[in-house]
């Protein structure tokens, strides 16, 4: 470990020195740098992904997640064009004789939306960039989508994209291209969020008001990220308004939220604080049912961030999140939640070398128990913690090459379970599951390269390293998965190290000004996973690392796609096909015991899995009528030893056909209507094929795993948003949103159970459970 840190530090310092001292850059001719930050003029928020185009040479770049861009050009006069969805295009004339800093503020598009022109620049960038299988969504789009109980939800919006499946009705769990729920790296300001759900999954932990930008990578994950097989969900918090104190909030059917942001002292320091709490429990006392009346049931979120600009070359960001779900009544107690803190330092070593140094703390924990005073009283706690240091460099070498390199190292601590009796009356003793410690590191380098006007490449490699650290007792199992032996390792022992090399490559070839072909290959590795064998998962599921018994999972994916922009209508079209093969895929044996089991690894079965599919997307981002239409055909299979008699079976999220339609229509500047419709093939499920009787009870007998399907799922949601008359300089702006979830009241099966009739217990029947009928909601949103 010490050696590794030294190596990483040397690497860090060496690159630092060599670049900062100005090692000559490509070629003999003198080029100058134009660099700077692009912000929203009204509030100073850094804008990610703004296209910067040099009109004369038709070369360009886009801003990174911190709003920074850099271009190197020959001396001369240029027109720089800055464009971004929802903002007016800004042109700046530059006479380049020396390195120059140009910070740009963009104006949001005016109130007069009907005259909006579709600018091709950004769309062109999307076509040309060597990046595929990724979708960025802005918060405005997400806000328009009708939501369950009116609670705008980033993850629910993502589940409407091709290639992203909801794990089950109403849950925040999602599967990307056939992957598991634990194969998604969910980041909030770079910090891993281990459980992104509230309230059994009905809501996600992200408070839309505090979020600036969301991007999901369904594959082709940038080389700077690792640790999960299937996807990266990158959520960025707002930095805070640097112009004036402003507030945003909402009063909804089940929750209210409030966000306050503004400058602290000067324009150079900003803050944002945001909170949300449900108040469904406030209505519980109104219930006539005493059992419902005595419940406590709520969740809250709190986000905060401070951004400070030290000078043009240095900025710091400190952000944090904490959220908690609490449930309490006279017979049980439960709470769970995430906490994250991220500290970042953006530093410009030169006009072309950008660095971000990040220190992250991330934790997840839960507690469950019963009230004190009984023989059965107990409390059970579980927690996990991460401490992460990472440094990411972007070197804008020249307009044709953008290098990225850096490292990351995470110290993981898992405490899967500590239980003890509560109070003197309890018969239960203390029982602790052993903790696990590990170090997960990554070292990467990659380049984005343009070759001529048509070809763009992105290539790189990530070396990931995972080390188990003692103290630990590692159990070994025989061929029948029975406990055979155990080996003890002392404190600080690095008793197992895994290395994986993860090459990633993608290429884009522009066929015409409005179409391109793309392909990519990426390998990803995953070292920690969830002990979960239910479809949707619970907050009680625990993460566990690879070990001498259990090798890391890897995934190789190839994808190819065709992208086309219909300029006349502003519609972007894409079709992508992918094939992915995963090794060391895990599943759990029949009747596995996943919680409070120190021999958990004996319940794991491994094998391989594969998935392929075709995703079609028509998307229109701007205009009075916007939205998208997606169709996905996909297949996901697993072949795992001992499961399903060693025969391949459908992965839990294998839902071959998936159609989503999202439509927003601005009827007038005061009225917007939105609708979305979802259709998916029913999820795979295991049903009985025979019965036995044991203990006077009809017992189902099964043949193959996941051999049946649930009924097909479909649902329509509607919403109507009303705004006051548009007026310049309105101090207090508001809207009222009415929504209907499941508007035509489809009874979508959430679970299917087989039951015995009460009067004639030998007669059995199938019964489905569905969660929601038509769910109406009203939300009042305001802004000042």
């Amino acid at each position: 470990m010490r050696r590794l840190i030294i190596i990483l530090l040397c690497f860090y310092l060496l690159t630092d020195i060599s670049v900062a001292t100005g090692v000559p850059v490509a070629g003999g001719e003198t080029r100058f740098k134009i660099s700077g930050y692009v912000t929203d003029k009204s509030n100073g928020e850094f804008l990610t992904g703004v296209t910067v185009l040099v009109e004369e040479t038709w070369v360009g770049t886009s801003t990174n997640v911190y709003g920074f861009y850099s271009l190197s050009l020959d001396p001369g006069d240029y027109n720089l064009r800055f464009s971004y969805i929802g903002y007016e295009m800004t042109e700046i004339k530059v006479s380049l004789k020396a390195d120059q800093t140009i910070n740009v503020g963009l104006n949001t598009k005016g109130l007069n939306l009907s005259t909006v022109e579709i600018k091709a620049d950004r769309a062109t960038e999307q076509l040309k960039s060597p990046e595929m299988s990724t979708i960025r969504m802005n918060v405005k789009t997400i806000r328009q989508i009708p939501a369950l109980m009116g609670e705008v939800d980033i993850i629910k919006a993502l589940q409407l994209l091709p290639g992203v499946q909801s794990a089950s009705e109403g849950t925040s769990g999602f599967s990307v291209r056939g992957g598991g729920l634990d194969q998604n790296l969910i980041l909030l300001d770079e910090a891993t969020v281990y459980n992104a759900s509230h309230f059994m999954g009905f809501f996600s932990v992200f408070n839309n008001d505090a979020v600036k930008d969301v991007q999901i990578y369904k594959g082709d994950i940038p080389v700077s990220y690792g640790g999960r097989l299937a996807s990266l969900l990158d959520v960025r918090m707002k930095d805070g308004n640097n112009k004036k104190l402003s507030g945003t909030g909402g009063i909804g059917t089940i929750a209210s939220r409030f966000t306050l942001e503004g400058p602290l002292g000067s324009e150079n320091t900003t803050f944002i604080v945001s909170g949300r709490r449900t108040y469904a429990d406030l209505f519980l006392p109104l219930s006539t049912d005493k059992n419902i009346r005595n419940n406590t049931l709520y969740f809250y979120d709190f986000n905060a961030k401070i951004t400070h600009k030290i000078d043009d070359n240095n900025r710091i960001f400190i952000s944090g999140y904490m959220g908690r779900d609490v449930f309490d009544n006279q017979y049980a107690y439960m709470d769970f939640g995430n906490q994250t803190i991220t500290g970042r330092w953006n530093h410009l070593f030169s006009k072309s070398l950008f660095n971000n140094l990040t220190l992250i703390y991330s934790a997840y924990d839960y507690a469950i128990g019963t009230p004190e005073g009984e023989a059965n009283s107990f409390i059970w706690k579980s927690e996990m913690r991460d401490l992460n240091l990472k440094s990411d460099f972007t070197w804008f070498l020249n307009p044709d090459n953008m290098l990225k390199f850096g490292f990351s190292t995470v110290y993981h601590e898992f405490n899967p379970g500590r239980a003890k009796g509560l109070g003197e009356e309890s018969a239960f003793k203390e029982l602790n599951m052993p903790s696990a410690y590990s170090l997960e590191s990554g070292l990467y380098a990659g380049n984005e390269q343009k070759i001529g006007a048509r070809l763009a490449l992105r290539y790189g490699v990530r070396l990931s390293v995972f080390q188990n650290i003692g103290p630990s007792t590692v159990y070994t199992f025989d061929d029948g998965y029975k406990l055979a032996d155990s080996v003890k390792y002392g404190s600080g022992d690095f008793y197992k190290t895994y290395f994986r090399l993860e090459p990633r490559f993608s290429a884009t070839y522009s066929l015409t000004e409005s179409s391109s072909l793309k392909m990519s290959f990426s390998r990803t590795a995953q070292y920690i996973q969830l002990a979960q064998n239910s479809t949707a998962g619970t907050p009680l599921d625990v993460w566990f690392p690879v070990s001498p018994n259990l090798e890391p999972q890897t995934s190789d994916m190839v994808a190819a796609g065709y992208f086309h922009n219909f300029k006349s209508t502003g519609v972007e079209f894409s079709v992508e096909a992918y094939y992915k093969r995963m090794e060391n895929t895990i599943d759990f044996c029949d009747n596995a015991e996943l919680i409070f089991n120190r021999y958990l690894e004996g319940e794991v079965r491994t094998g391989h899995s594969w998935a392929y599919g075709l995703e079609l997307l028509f998307r229109k981002n701007e205009g009075r009528l916007n939205g998208w239409l997606g169709y996905t055909y996909s297949v996901a299979r697993r072949k795992i030893e001992t499961i399903n008699n060693n025969e391949p079976y459908a992965a839990p999220y294998d839902k071959p056909h998936n159609i989503t339609a999202v439509v927003n229509y601005e009827v007038s500047p005061r009225v917007t209507i939105s609708a979305n419709w979802v259709y998916t093939t029913g999820a795979p499920v295991t049903f009985p094929t025979a019965r036995a009787i044991y203990g006077n009870q009809v017992v189902p007998v099964y043949s193959g795993r996941n051999a049946y399907r649930m009924p097909d799922y479909h649902r329509l949601d509607l919403s109507l948003t009303l705004k006051p008359k548009p007026r310049e300089n309105r101090k207090f702006d508001y809207d009222i949103n009415f929504s209907l979830y499941n508007a035509y009241g489809r009874k979508n099966a959430w679970a299917i159970n087989f039951k015995q009739e009460k009067e004639r217990p030998l007669v059995t029947y199938a019964e489905m459970t569905y969660l929601f009928g038509v769910v109406p909601a009203v939300t009042f949103n305001f802004k000042f």
Partner: protein, 279 residues
């Protein structure tokens, strides 16, 4: 462990009952090939003991399972072997006077007249665990929980080392835990070597019309079972309980101890009874 899972189920089911509804549906199911089903128990109480042999039936088949007659069924403890007599079709009984003893290992052998699932021979081995002490029980009524609930509490000194228990109950001489769904099978993972202080082992719910009245005599049957049998009963109970996407693993057959892919279990356990009068 069971306790913890249960409290979580209580919380989650509370949340979901706020939203969920159920509806009977028609669902076609395939039929898989026929397998043998054996239910056999041996205790330290006076016999005769029953070995019931049948085969699986299509899932929606109404009525009892097709019985298997004319099999040769024997139980051996290493020293003596007894042959069971088929008194009712498919029901084989031990001879009078035959009694199980803790600590002994029993082997059940079944030879069928005709092959089922490709074989005529099935067998199972069961070890009868030693008796662990059991002191007493009482019944507590909790009017506020689940709209009224009776809890049978159990007092005993758990011997150190792994132990497993199966509980059933009788009200005024009638079994009230009349099917597997209502049995309780626990292990001592969380109270190993402790006095049980009256942990709740069986529950009766007013809204399911499982009434217990004042003056009723409640007999608690305490069986010392092997941990393999405890898991078998626990998993089988999971299979017959309602499942949902949150906590239910993929449904699966629960392997018993019958050889050659036979379903069911041959269990041997000592039984004790403690009783209380409900006040």
């Amino acid at each position: 462990m069971k306790e913890m899972k249960k409290s979580f189920f209580l919380i989650a089911s509370f949340i979901f009952t706020l939203f969920s509804c159920t509806e009977k549906i028609d669902l076609d199911l395939d039929t898989s090939s026929v397998r043998l089903v054996v239910e056999a128990n041996l205790t330290d109480q006076p016999g005769p003991y029953l070995v019931r042999i049948a085969t699986t039936a299509p899932y929606y088949a109404e009525g009892l399972l097709p019985v298997v007659s004319e099999a040769v069924v024997t139980i051996s403890d290493g020293d003596t072997t007894v042959r069971l007599v088929e008194l009712e079709p498919g029901d084989y009984y031990t001879p009078a006077g035959y009694t199980g003893e803790p600590g002994k290992t029993y082997r059940l052998a079944i030879r069928l007249k005709e092959e089922i699932a490709g074989t005529k021979d099935y067998s199972a081995v069961a070890v009868m665990p030693q008796k662990a002490p059991t002191d007493s029980c009482n019944v507590i009524y909790e009017p506020d929980l689940f709209k009224g609930m009776w809890q049978i509490r159990w007092y005993a000194q758990d011997p150190s080392g792994p132990n497993a228990y199966l509980f059933r109950a009788y009200r005024n001489g009638q079994p009230v835990t009349d099917s597997l769904r209502r049995w309780s099978a626990i292990d001592d993972q969380f109270f190993d070597g402790n006095y049980t202080m009256g942990i709740g082992v069986l529950y009766f719910f007013k809204n399911r019309r499982q009434y217990i009245y004042e003056g009723d005599t409640i007999v608690l049957e305490v069986c010392n079972i092997t941990s393999e049998y405890q898991k078998f009963v626990m998993f089988l109970k999971d299979e017959v309980q309602s499942s949902n996407p949150l906590f239910s693993p993929p449904p699966a057959n629960v392997p018993g101890n019958i050889s050659n892919g036979g379903l069911g279990y041959f269990a041997a356990y000592p039984v004790q009874y403690v009783q209380t009068v409900c006040r």
